[in-house]
């Protein structure tokens, strides 16, 4: 298929449809409302469901209900809205239902601002809602990757029977880039008849299915949590994605950065190369599971003297980077999160300060 120029938000909407997701529930919030506007128009064209819920709280449960009966379903929101959906995320994870949540991050805490931010790293990666659960978290760095990750998210949500999050930011949602929609979507055989409340008639079964998260018996609850944990262990084995940039050379500094921020870092790296300074970048493309070993290896390369996590936050991913480096190198941090994305020049200044 030919390339088209699309806004990230619209491309994410189209990607869902191309992935066979014909069910979308959402509540408007800047900077991701274009997804809802796009799908309000597109879903009826493809015979799909579009519904604007009364709140993000309600939308979270519309997603839960739809996912519980085994249908592909997605919602999109931005930071404050994701806070409200976090309750449902906890329930959906516990009840083991596949669903796709997109967070086009804006500045926080509180109402914060509407400009790009990466302040929801902890929320996305460490839980957000209550209890022991994780989301599989993708971090695209542009429109094309947002499309591919959105499409794959449905497959993985079904593979792991759990919620998957696309963690983008306002820049990725708002910018236009050329995008190509992959034709061949990988799909795994569905086992949803074993658990989804799709109606006994449809399954031609006498056995009813239950979608629940209440396990009053401690043994049962522990078993459910162990089942969730087993999935996270499997994700760590099979789903880690990352990109190395300028990492085949003898770099003195390793930057760890993701999403929009990593693109600015790449420009800085190119500029420093012209000055004869080699800097490497490791860009996690999944934030959970996190590329722990890849970061350790890249950080402990002999030429590498310092590691720095650069984020549009006040220092969140840096805690995971420190954990991965296991004290073998000093780990620094640089970040801004008012909405002004740090410039390549600023990053060069910071990196040079480490040399």
């Amino acid at each position: 298929m030919a390339k088209v120029l699309m806004k990230g938000n619209e491309a994410i909407g189209e990607a869902a449809i191309r992935a066979g997701c014909l069910n979308y529930f959402a509540y408007p919030i800047t900077p991701q409302s274009e997804v809802a506007e796009y799908l309000a128009k597109r879903m009826p064209e493809v015979g799909g469901v579009f519904l604007q819920g009364e709140s993000e709280v309600a939308v979270g449960y519309m997603i839960f209900g739809a996912a519980g009966c085994g249908e592909r379903v997605m919602t999109t929101s931005s930071s404050p809205g994701i806070s409200l959906m976090s309750e449902a995320l906890s329930y959906i994870a516990a009840a083991q239902c596949p669903a796709v949540f997109v967070n086009i991050m804006r500045g926080g805490p509180g109402l914060g601002g509407i400009l790009p931010s990466q302040g929801d790293y902890f929320q996305a990666v460490k839980g957000g809602g209550h209890g022991d659960y994780h989301l599989l978290v993708f971090a695209p760095d542009g429109v094309q990757e947002a499309v591919e990750m959105t499409m794959n998210a449905f497959t993985l949500a079904e593979k792991y029977r759990g919620p998957v999050m696309i963690l983008g930011d306002g820049m990725i949602g708002q910018m236009m880039e050329p995008v190509e929609f992959p034709d061949n979507l990988k799909s795994e055989p569905s086992n949803k008849d074993a658990w989804a409340t799709s109606g006994m008639d449809k399954r031609k079964s006498d056995k009813r299915n239950l979608v629940r998260s209440l396990f009053l018996d401690p043994t049962e609850l522990n078993a459910n949590n162990l089942a969730l944990k087993a999935k996270y262990v499997q994700m760590k084995k099979e789903e880690i994605l990352y990109e190395g940039y300028n990492t085949d050379l003898d770099y003195k500094v390793l930057i760890v950065s993701y999403g929009t921020m990593s693109r600015v870092c790449k420009t800085s790296i190119d500029m420093m190369k012209e000055e004869g300074i080699e800097v490497g970048l490791l860009r996690p493309r999944t934030l959970f599971p996190f590329p722990e070993e890849a970061i350790f290896k890249a950080a402990t390369r002999e030429s590498c003297k310092a590691v720095i996590s650069i984020e549009m936050s006040m220092g969140q991913m840096v805690e995971d980077v420190e954990r991965c480096v296991r004290g073998q190198r000093k780990v620094d941090f640089y970040g801004e999160c008012g909405g002004d994305i740090p410039t390549p020049e600023k990053i060069i200044e910071v990196v040079k300060g480490l040399l």
Binding site: V57, F64, S198, S213
Partner: protein, 245 residues
């Protein structure tokens, strides 16, 4: 002589965990009978609330989902929108529906979602141990209103059927009770009618059922029935509040 009485197919054979004199069991049975009579068990999905009926799926035998506190109508919306062929109902108590879930029920009703809500109004929080509900009567004692509900501080009890009736969107809104056999028969008819409206894809349907909670009211089952008759029914008037054209 053949078998003259048996449990509905839509019910499981599990013993309920409800307290003696509680009317949940009666309403469960009415729902199950209606589902059997309409032959819809194989395409029904129930939604359990948070409250005493959180485990109600143990007493039914068809697909069930379990919602978070108050969110059953949003969940039902999600199911019904993506699978309009399924028959979906929520079973909610007064803390769940009229307190924490007020937003969800109003908007689902106003969108005219084609599902059914069975709303158990017993004027108290049951499972958490007798705290004040939005439906608790003036002066009625609760663990969080030890001297009785003070309407100066907490307002008057919310009449859900009356409130939902005011929405312009068509719907079937009725209030029934299960305090004596006559009422139970009428409640059965109303519940069946509510499902019939859904089967016909007609409208949102809502059956409020005035029930008892002897344990948390501190009354014997018989006294509880009498108290409900004397105190609840004059305030919560029974009857159809809205019928779709």
């Amino acid at each position: 002589m053949g078998k003259t009485f048996s449990k509905p197919e839509a019910m499981s054979s599990n013993m309920t965990h409800y307290c003696p004199g509680c009317t949940h069991g009666i309403v469960h049975r009415l729902v199950a009978e209606a589902i059997d009579e309409l032959g819809i068990r194989g395409r029904t999905v129930g939604i359990a609330p948070v409250g005493c009926a959180v485990l109600c799926y143990n007493y039914f035998d068809f697909d069930f989902q379990e919602a978070a506190h108050g969110r059953a109508p949003a969940m039902a919306t999600g199911i019904k929108r993506v699978r309009p062929d399924l028959i979906v109902f929520t079973y909610q108590g007064d803390g769940d529906l009229a307190s924490i879930g007020m937003g969800e029920i109003i908007h689902a009703a106003n969108r005219g979602e084609k599902f059914t809500t069975i709303f158990i109004n017993n004027a108290i929080y049951g499972m958490t141990g007798g705290q004040m509900a939005p439906t608790t009567m003036p002066g009625q004692r609760a663990t969080t209103a030890p001297t009785g509900r003070d309407t100066e501080l907490t307002g008057m009890p919310i009449r859900m059927a009356n409130l939902l009736k005011e929405l312009v969107t068509p719907g079937y809104i009725t209030r029934q009770a299960v305090l004596n056999p006559k009422q139970i028969n009428k409640a059965k008819k109303a519940i069946k009618k509510a499902f019939e409206y859904q089967v016909a894809n007609k409208c949102f349907s809502f059956v409020e059922v005035i029930s008892t909670c002897p344990t948390n009211w501190g009354l014997t089952p018989l006294d509880a029935l009498k108290w409900a008759e004397d105190t609840l029914l004059p305030y919560y008037e029974l009857g159809d509040y809205k019928i779709p054209e």
